[in-house]
Symmetry: C2
Subunit: 467 residues, 2 copies
């Protein structure tokens, strides 16, 4: 079975993506107007599906639906129009909110904040659907579109919206355009994603920054206290705790709900072709590193992490800063309970007797548990077949999204629908980092694959698809 749809010329899709990327919809810092502009732009591309912007208690969602295939299954296409902050602008080689085509690497890429996470992968589905409708006059199944604006901040207002609109959004399967193939060398389907919690550890000393000479030795320095607290979040090599982090998380209770890696899963992962040295060279680290007793892929796919994402404290001038803040987030696996994880970290920090300062843990709103879909689920089977069609002769790997897709658990709860990850981003495309890019070839491949997937799912009953 082969699905053919005439593809809109890539140049035309890229022209749209250029407009879309130019709207700096960073959900941590953009104004409501900017977020609405991004939502409105996307809604405009969904005119064939009554595309519109709908309110939530936070940034709005983009909705649309084409329900002209009675009796056929209904899929809900999920994605997001918000993007990550740019980070240090000095590290960007091209302007983050300008789509730049670079033919010199990876067979051609486009660069810009959001091109791969998640504006490009969403836009290619929208454009595929539009092309399919133009060609055939109908889609093979019913499609809902739900594109949110708060994914990068943990989707704090999506649950209330989805629960309130569960009847309208009814679907047999959610297909997420967010996510990523885990590497560029072969097609892959992700069957799980990690959970996420985040918080700030705020240490306060004096009322204001103090001259490090004129007040030196009289008060505690919050940066020293914070360093000690952060050093205490991980296990340490060496008897007296001063020989570097050992890669494990030292917070009592953190690993509750994390199953030991079964011999079977270990064997499965070890069978995946994976060149450690090539991976190391790609990320540019002096060596790979992590929790003892686990290989790199074991850690990436199956183990939870606690990362200090940054520290805000003083600067290069001779003061005793009055405040030091550690920005911390955890990626969760298995049955780790987000609420219990943040409570355990709070208790661990509170138990450290740090003199002379006030210590407070401020937990962020979004708390997302880990998610998993059965590798034998019919949607996974259909997706593997669709990928096999687009990438003939290549084995389709079953991988894990080490990232977090907050909506998955929500859809399971509110809509009773599992989520299939079907993204044409690739994990090396500098998601969340400066110089984010998207391989241009993935656009046409992705459009063909989505068409193939829909045609396959359309051939099944809703009950089969939504099993």
């Amino acid at each position: 079975m082969t699905s053919t749809v005439p593809m809109r010329p890539e140049a035309e899709l890229l022209a749209g993506l250029a407009e879309y990327v130019a709207i700096p919809s960073d959900s941590r810092s953009a104004s409501a107007e900017t977020m609405r502009a991004a939502a409105g732009w996307l809604a405009g591309r969904l005119s064939f599906a009554a595309g519109r912007v709908e309110e939530t208690d936070g940034f709005p969602v983009v909705r649309g639906e084409w329900l002209g295939a009675p009796g056929a299954p209904t899929v809900l296409v999920y994605g997001h129009y918000d993007v990550q902050p740019t980070g240090d602008l000095a590290e960007w080689h091209t302007p983050p909110f300008e789509l730049v085509v670079d033919g010199s690497v990876h067979g051609g890429v486009v660069r810009g904040r959001g091109v791969t996470d998640d504006k490009g992968p969403v836009l290619l589905v929208v454009e595929m659907a539009r092309a399919m409708l133009a060609e055939r006059g109908a889609l093979p199944l019913n499609v809902q579109f739900l594109v949110e604006g708060e994914e990068e901040i943990g989707s704090p207002h999506l649950p209330a919206y989805v629960h309130a609109h569960a009847d309208e959004l009814a679907a047999d399967l959610v297909i997420s355009a967010d996510g990523a193939m885990w590497r560029p060398t072969e097609p892959s389907i992700s069957i799980a994603s990690k959970g996420l919690v985040s918080m700030d550890i705020v240490v306060t000393g004096a009322a204001e920054d103090l001259h490090s000479g004129r007040y030196g030795g009289t008060v505690a320095n919050p940066v020293h206290a914070l360093s000690t607290i952060l050093a205490g979040l991980h296990g340490l090599h060496g008897l007296h705790g001063l020989h570097g982090p050992d890669g494990s998380v030292a917070v009592p209770g953190f690993y509750d709900g994390v199953d030991d890696l079964s011999p079977g899963r270990r064997t499965e992962i070890d069978a995946v072709p994976f060149d450690e040295e090539e991976y190391r060279a790609t990320v540019g680290a002096p060596e790979l590193f992590g929790e003892a007793g686990y290989g790199t892929l074991h850690r990436l796919w199956e183990r939870p992490t606690l990362e200090v994402n940054g520290i805000t404290a003083g600067g290069k001038y001779t003061v005793i800063p009055h405040r030091a803040v550690g920005h911390v987030s955890c990626r969760l696996v298995g049955r780790q309970d987000p609420d219990r994880v943040v409570a355990a970290i709070g208790a661990h920090v509170a138990a450290l007797a740090v003199p002379g300062v006030r210590v407070e843990v401020r937990v962020d709103e979004g708390r997302v548990p880990a998610y998993r879909i059965d590798p034998d689920h019919p949607a996974v089977t259909a997706a593997r077949e669709a990928l096999a069609e687009v990438y003939p002769g290549q084995e389709v790997l079953l991988a894990v999204i080490a990232g977090t897709l907050p909506a998955t658990t929500l859809f399971e709860t509110a809509l009773g629908a599992k989520t299939l990850f079907f993204s044409f981003a690739t994990a090396d495309e500098k998601h969340h980092a400066p110089n984010e890019f998207l391989r241009i070839a993935r656009i046409a491949e992705g459009m063909r694959a989505w068409a193939a997937l829909w045609d396959r799912l359309a051939a099944w009953t809703p009950a089969e698809v939504g099993r």
Copy 2:
């Protein structure tokens, strides 16, 4: 003996200070043009002393001299026209480079970056000299002015300049308009200042920031490594090193050249009226804190410190930052050798086995040893008398500048002259911090005191003054 000079109206001096403060001469970030503008402005006020801007290998110095008192001693007035960075602008209540008069606190203050460190204290000497000349037609002694533009970055180019111009700059005594009375409640003379070294501890992991999910668990996080390194710079409470810093520096060799506090000096300091709770309330810290076995004033005046002034690393977004930098500086006392201190820190950091990252210690140029003048030095005696005249009935305390005046050792070496600290800043005036201010009353007090000091020194022979 009473010195009277007609004082220029405060308002006129403040108008000048407003122009001077408006030039943002932050020696860490300002352009050469801005620094030259500040130097040029001050040189213009020194027209009575052939004021001029002279080149160094860095930012220029302001020079001037009035040498019309043959046979009388020659004093060199030292200060600086550069200022500290503003730090976080959000913490300033008024624009940092705008002189704002606030009559609501401390009997009236002016606010702005540099008002107390060191633009105000220098300008009041200049204006006093101008007024004295206008009144008397002559100064009572010979005066050299040397005002540098790199004090806040450790005076890296001052030594070469002073050595090259030692003959021109010959003086029997240096009087520093930089420094500060240690508190507002009584007059004080500082007889020592601490040394200073600074450095960056740079930890590098991957080539760029990595998505904390998609790469989580595969590489070391430089922030974790840096936290461990920084935690290891201080002694820690608790057996396993995870119960907070104990206030001592854990770097082997750091305390070489630091004498134990003698019982005599301990008694002397303990006799200084000092209300710990009032001090605590003023700085706004939850409690006072420092090296065990020493009181607050012992630590402030007699003990060296190692402070992490800030950390630059990532931010509040879900990445594994590729770089984390700790900005570290040390205040030195006694015979601590700046070169040996930075070498000891480098060796200590290198000895920590931190896996998965590169660690580098980058030491800054300026390295300043501690400085001391004999409390019985004739210049100290003259200064105490001058202060007693301006602050009748108040005891003049002998204090220590816990800050650093890099030029003192240089003047001793290159000119054979001791330095008297004679500043009318006060240590609580938020030097190096947001909302820096200067008590307006100190301007007239300072002008009267400088006149009284010069008149006293003029009555002595050069040999007596330069003893």
